[in-house]
């Protein structure tokens, strides 16, 4: 709308219609309008309508009314304004400048404050509200600039000049600042290790340089070992840190130990199984041995008592090898418990004798009935044996 207004104004300017002339034409037009309304002349209607339409638009625009009227008149006058556009261009620019001032430029004040570089960046700035329509992917790439950059270099320099210490004139011990010769470059700021290393290197070089400079100036640098004074971190604080370190170390050690134990347990199970198998085997072997011996003994009854004694001892040793825990409460533990606490039917008459127990000859030995157990040797022999 504004542009159109401008164009028309420019046209009007081109025609160099003075206001007086315009007023005349306006009157003429009004007169014609009234005529046409009264008379209803057909050929004029189109033009008049055009004029009225222009009027309506003119009221919408924020341009003075009479100017707009003049434009209407101008339009009526020249049917072929488009052809004249080229000629108009020169003067149009001037008019635009005038319109701009009155109309829409509110940023003029800000521009005064800003520097030249900020003006460049004005164009790049996108209001944040426009960004909401973008997808997330696009959003990530953009850095929303919602404010104008103010970077008043002149004022900054002036402020700096006002407060700055004459570092170059002062001795180093006076200010103790060191600036690195080259800017510290950190590729990836989020990489903690690299970043801290860069900081460390910067400070280390400064410390070395600083010590050199201070020693040249004869200023004490190193704290003597017998100089005690209040520290930034109090003793309690340091004790806390120490405790923390110790705790950390202990934790590490404990976890290592636990891991070792776990591994051992895993391995230990295998060892245990192997051991059990071995013990089983051994037991089987002994039992076989005992059976063999028993058979032999029953076959060859007339062995010397000495031999028998020897065997007996051996046997006793073999059989009385300590009853291992595993054997004692083996797989029949459950059965025993069931028996005791009431699993597996009635307990009545359980202890009374029956046909089976009567027929059981486990405790019977004819040998015992005949000569009893091995006779007790005589006193002299016994004494001899002791010796």
């Amino acid at each position: 709308m504004v542009n159109k207004g401008k164009l028309k104004m420019a046209l009007a300017a081109d025609k160099s219609t003075g206001y007086k002339k315009l007023n005349l034409k306006k009157k003429e037009k009004l007169a014609r309008k009234t005529k046409s309304k009264k008379g209803g002349d057909t050929p004029d209607v189109g033009k008049i309508v055009e004029g009225e339409w222009e009027d309506v638009e003119g009221s919408e625009d924020e341009v003075a009314e009479d100017e707009e009227e003049a434009v209407g008149a101008a339009v009526e006058e020249s049917v072929s304004d488009e052809e004249e556009d080229d000629e108009v261009a020169g003067k149009m620019e001037i008019d635009f400048a005038g319109i701009d001032e009155s109309d829409s430029d509110s940023s003029a004040g800000e521009n005064d404050q800003n520097n030249s570089d900020s003006e460049e960046e004005d164009d790049e700035d996108i209001p944040v509200s426009d960004l909401e329509d973008l997808s997330d992917g696009e959003k990530e790439d953009l850095i929303p600039h919602q404010r104008l950059t103010i970077n008043n270099t002149v004022a900054l320099n002036a402020a700096l000049k006002r407060i700055s210490l004459p570092v170059s004139k002062m001795t180093f011990s006076e200010h103790q600042t060191i600036t690195t010769s080259e800017p510290v470059v950190i590729d990836d700021v989020s990489d903690d290790l690299k970043r801290e290393l860069a900081f460390y290197a910067q400070s280390l070089s400064a410390a070395q340089q600083g010590r050199k400079l201070l020693k040249e100036e004869g200023v004490p640098f190193t704290r003597p070992t017998d100089y005690f004074a209040e520290m930034v971190k109090a003793d309690e604080h340091m004790a806390k840190i120490k405790a923390k370190l110790i705790e950390e170390a202990a934790g590490k050690k404990a976890s290592a130990e636990a891991r070792k134990q776990r591994d051992l347990k895993k391995f230990g199970k295998q060892v245990q199984v192997a051991k059990l198998q071995e013990r089983d085997k051994e037991r089987k072997q002994t039992l076989d041995k005992i059976k063999d011996l028993k058979r032999k003994r029953q076959g060859a009854d007339t062995t010397t008592t000495n031999e028998a004694d020897l065997f007996d001892v051996a046997l006793e040793e073999e059989t009385s090898s300590k009853p291992s825990r595993k054997n004692r409460e083996g797989p029949n533990k459950r059965a025993k418990k069931d028996e005791k606490y009431g699993h597996g039917g009635k307990k009545r008459f359980k202890k009374s004798g029956d046909a089976m127990s009567t027929g059981d000859l486990k405790g019977f030995s004819s040998k015992k009935m005949k000569g009893g157990a091995a006779k007790r040797p005589g006193k002299a022999r016994r004494a001899g044996g002791k010796r």
Binding site: R147, P166, T177, T179, P220, Y227
Partner: protein, 307 residues
């Protein structure tokens, strides 16, 4: 201890006088205080920094957040020419103001990633009030606003020579590094150890040092605290005056939080939209009982066949 100090101050005596006769002496005093509403971590950080700066004067919390110009009067009251002010917002965001008291300039910065000495558990330690060596990144000299920042750091964190409570030895370094548009601040203890023969044999450099005398090797141990600063604005005056620099890239933590919230809300909106779309699609295919397109009745429909 006193004798050591005496002997040291004697040797220094002549040198101290020399600059005093000159034009300007580095004379700084810093007023350290915070606004109301800081958390315990902010408070501890403030205490840590105050303990590192013997030329500072700590004051009670400032009541107001809007009338910061009152700080100028406070600074005048305590004879301070620097103000170091922590402003807490919403009980979580911390802004750091640094100002040259009567005439400015003032810098406002956003403080992030702050860790106090206590929670960092670093083994480093230094004398309370010893003068640090300030190490600056060369990038500080590139732009005028960074130069202003550097100067302010120098005034506030650099302990001036002859400060009342300062100790005569140098045993820590403060590092100021510019990375990612932010200023990273670290504090290290200077640890001097006798050069071990093995390293001297390996490295080429320590050898000549040893010839000069008993030069010790320097290593650093971090003391803490740690923090990161993002400059926001620089004002010409002290807590007032025109803004002469504004950081365009600074995104306020409020905006970050709100973006996170909207993003979260967006997930629901997306799902709801999907639901509507699915309904519309079903309607289009004639799979809905009401609304949408109705399917033409098939000749072989069971309803029709067995009517």
């Amino acid at each position: 201890m006193a004798s050591v100090y005496k002997s040291l101050s004697k040797t220094n005596g002549q040198k101290e006088e020399a600059p005093a006769n000159g034009v300007k002496r580095n004379k700084q005093r810093v007023l350290i205080l915070s606004s109301r509403g800081i958390t315990y971590r902010h408070r501890h950080l403030l205490n840590d920094l105050a303990s590192l700066l013997p030329h500072s004067r700590k004051d009670a919390k400032l009541d107001t957040k809007s009338k910061l110009y009152q700080l100028n009067e406070l600074a005048e009251l305590y004879n301070c020419n620097n103000v170091f002010f922590f402003e807490a917002r919403k009980g979580k965001d911390l802004y750091l103001w640094m100002s040259k008291a009567p005439n400015g300039p003032t810098v406002k910065m956003h403080m992030q990633n702050l860790h106090t000495m206590e929670e960092l558990h670093f083994t480093g330690n230094c004398l309370k009030g010893s003068r640090p060596i300030l190490s600056f990144d060369a990038s500080f000299d590139k732009e005028p606003h960074l130069r202003v920042l550097k100067e302010l750091f120098l005034h506030i964190f650099g302990v001036p020579k002859g400060a009342r409570k300062a100790k005569p030895f140098v045993d820590h370094v403060m590092g100021f590094t510019l990375a990612d548009g932010k200023i990273w601040i670290r504090n290290y203890q200077i640890n001097e150890t006798e050069p071990s023969k093995s390293t001297a044999a390996v490295d080429g450099e320590p050898k000549p040092k040893q010839k000069h005398g008993r030069e010790t090797e320097i290593s650093l141990v971090e003391i803490g605290p740690r923090f990161v600063l993002t400059p926001i604005v620089i004002q010409e005056g002290s807590f007032g005056g025109p803004i002469i620099y504004e950081n365009k890239e600074f995104v306020s933590p409020n905006q970050v939080r709100s973006e996170i919230r909207t993003k979260k809300a967006g997930r629901y909106n997306q799902r709801a939209e999907q639901g509507v779309e699915r309904l519309a699609k079903k309607g289009e295919l004639g799979l809905r009982t009401s609304g949408g397109r109705t399917m033409p009745v098939d000749e072989l429909d069971t309803g029709k066949l067995f009517a």
